[in-house]
């Protein structure tokens, strides 16, 4: 491989993920972090926006911190398509050569960024929870949990550009939007080949869930093995309802058939970072902790005082769930 001239690459980019005309909040969070990195590197911050009929969303990205928006508004980009998104992003990045590209570690980001990294001959680090800069070499340190969260790793991509990462949702802080902020909207030329794909969108089925999606929820009440049975899960549901939160579960509770898999929090379930996480009867395996330990406030209720969950909790109650949960639910209902 030919020696890469790193100085040809500059600028921080974030991919602004939208689905059906709704911007994913992680885009704003990454603009917040991206602004910090770009200012430190003394370069511009850009967002890449792909879709159909999305031109009106560009100003919002500028308001949230972007200096430039690379916009491709094309009927072919109406729905997420791995091949098209990867080809188009790689096409724009090869023309404008950013030094960093970040996206959310979402179902979309994690599906197509690997393809972009191959197209650009760049490395890719998954699901980062922090970024730092080495100013001397302009290297991005990409920090992420591994091995079910038992290990943290600091990754770098010293010889390749751009430096690419997917970043965890709800970890970075969005800036307060400034609607008067000015920026530039660039409509890059896209090769006809980049808009060719062999897969195509058929339809979207909205998940008909009466419960709140745990990945989006600000409050989650989760139950584990200590709940003791499927019927007892109503104690968790009632507390969640009283708080206006979602119901989560540990793998043990899901494997016991007490609650469907879509509620599972942890390494083999969903990763969540709500403002409040109440763990009921969850001991706190490494795998479970990996999925929830970036929550703002963690409350643990468990009968075993030695349970590892108390190690990550701010508040702990050692005791019987059958007494505490109904008492707390009642108290909240009383207001």
């Amino acid at each position: 491989m030919a020696e890469l001239n790193k100085s040809e690459f500059n600028g921080v980019w974030i991919f602004a993920e939208q689905r059906r005309g709704k911007m994913h909040n992680v885009a704003f969070e990454l603009l917040g972090k991206g602004r910090e990195l770009a200012d430190q590197l003394k370069v511009s911050l850009s967002a890449v926006l792909l879709g159909n009929g999305v031109t009106g969303m560009a100003q919002d990205l500028i308001a949230a911190g972007a200096d430039k928006v690379y916009l491709v508004d094309d009927p072919k980009l109406d729905h997420f398509n791995d091949e098209l998104y990867a080809n188009v992003l790689a096409d724009i990045a090869s023309q404008y050569k950013p030094e960093i590209i970040l996206t959310g570690a979402t179902a979309v980001g994690r599906a197509f960024f690997p393809r972009v990294s191959i197209l650009l001959n760049a490395g890719l680090t998954a699901d980062c929870t922090a970024f730092e800069l080495d100013m001397a070499e302009r290297n991005l340190f990409q920090i992420r949990p591994a091995f079910g969260g038992s290990l943290m790793a600091k990754i770098m991509t010293p010889e390749r550009r751009p430096q690419m990462s997917t970043a965890r949702y709800k970890v970075f802080k969005a800036l307060v939007k400034d609607p008067s902020r000015k920026g530039e909207i660039i409509k890059p030329q896209i090769k006809a080949d980049s808009l060719q794909a062999r897969s195509q969108f058929v339809e979207f089925i909205e998940e008909v869930e009466t419960t709140i999606n745990i990945a989006e929820a600000d409050i989650i009440v989760s139950g584990g093995r200590g709940i003791g049975g499927g019927e007892n899960f109503k104690l968790v549901r009632e507390l969640a309802q009283a708080l206006g939160g979602a119901v989560g579960a540990s793998r043990a509770a899901v494997d016991s058939g007490w609650i469907p898999y879509s509620h599972q929090v942890g390494q083999t379930g969903k990763t969540v970072s709500p403002k409040l996480y109440i763990a009921c009867g969850i001991s706190g395996s490494v795998q479970h902790l990996a999925g929830m330990q970036s929550s703002d406030i963690i409350v643990a209720i468990n009968k075993d005082p030695e349970a590892p969950i108390f190690g990550v909790a701010k508040y702990g109650i050692v005791g019987d769930l059958n007494e505490i949960l109904p008492a707390l639910t009642e108290r909240i209902k009383k207001g």
Binding site: D82, E159, I317
Partner: protein, 262 residues
């Protein structure tokens, strides 16, 4: 129909310990297992074969001991197993690993490539779509159901955060599957008997026409600069004492102060 399933041997993460001094894994004490998600990929491959005919070949890249998981796959009913094993591959990151797996699939020939959604050691979920890109194949990740499949085309349901994307693709194609897709079968008695005597085909980088400048720790784009133990010390939670009523009252007060009670 040629189906290739890429699988990985991983440390048993339910049992993993980190050396707090060095911040590295104590791999030797953990034991190894087949990456749990890969079972679902094997099961789905077997179901496709049962419907359309063809062969299921499982592939893993790793040291000789990774043969163990290939034997499990044979026990489940896979036709053939390949171990991609070469010192030159050691330390490959996802970029390099997906190259090696793509070259292997190219060598074997394949209409469908299957992966578990991610491996539980690295948790990157990057190798499936990356390998697909090397092969210039479409990649459909997070597949929870195959709605229709023929020799030419496939229609799948993909689990996204806000719902399900139904997507159609021509073959060849690469899929990564989630746990909802099926219930993996256990190894059959007949399968176990076959697995016992079965010797996987061992391929080197040269065998798959791989370029050594594309693999190994030296040529991998990403480097681990540092790693450290993330396990927190137990017992720092503020414990709330008293009877159930008093504890509920106390916690209620704290939640209210924090703004969680409207």
């Amino acid at each position: 129909m040629k189906i290739v399933v890429c699988i990985k041997q991983v440390p048993d993460t339910t049992n993993i310990k980190v050396d707090p001094e060095t911040g590295t894994l104590k791999r030797e004490t953990a034991g190894t297992v087949m990456n749990p998600f890969d079972m679902y990929a094997i099961e789905e491959a077997l179901r496709i074969k049962e419907k359309l005919g063809g062969t299921v070949t499982v592939v893993t890249m790793g040291p000789p001991m990774a043969k163990e998981i290939l034997k499990v796959a044979i026990g489940m009913g896979a036709d053939e197993a390949v171990l991609l094993c070469d010192r030159l591959l050691a330390g490959s990151d996802t970029w390099a690993t997906s190259y090696a797996l793509a070259k292997t699939a190219e060598k074997l020939g394949c209409d469908i490539m299957l992966f578990g959604k991610q491996a539980v050691d690295g948790d990157t979920a990057q190798v499936g779509p990356s390998a697909a890109q090397y092969l210039k194949m479409p990649s459909l990740t997070w597949v929870k159901k195959i709605r229709e499949i023929s020799d030419k085309e496939i229609v799948v349901e993909r689990m996204m955060e806000d719902g399900i994307d139904v997507v159609k693709s021509s073959l060849p194609v690469a899929l990564t599957v989630v746990k909802e897709i099926n219930e993996p079968r256990l190894e059959s008695l007949k399968g176990k008997m076959r697995a016992k005597k079965y010797e996987p085909q061992v391929l080197t980088l040269a065998d798959i026409n791989g370029d050594e400048k594309m693999v190994g720790v030296k040529n991998s784009p990403t480097r681990v600069a540092k790693s450290w133990s993330a396990t927190r010390e137990a017992g720092k939670a503020e414990l709330i004492e008293g009877d159930a009523g008093a504890r509920a009252e106390n916690l209620f007060g704290k939640l209210k102060t924090l703004g969680f009670i409207k």
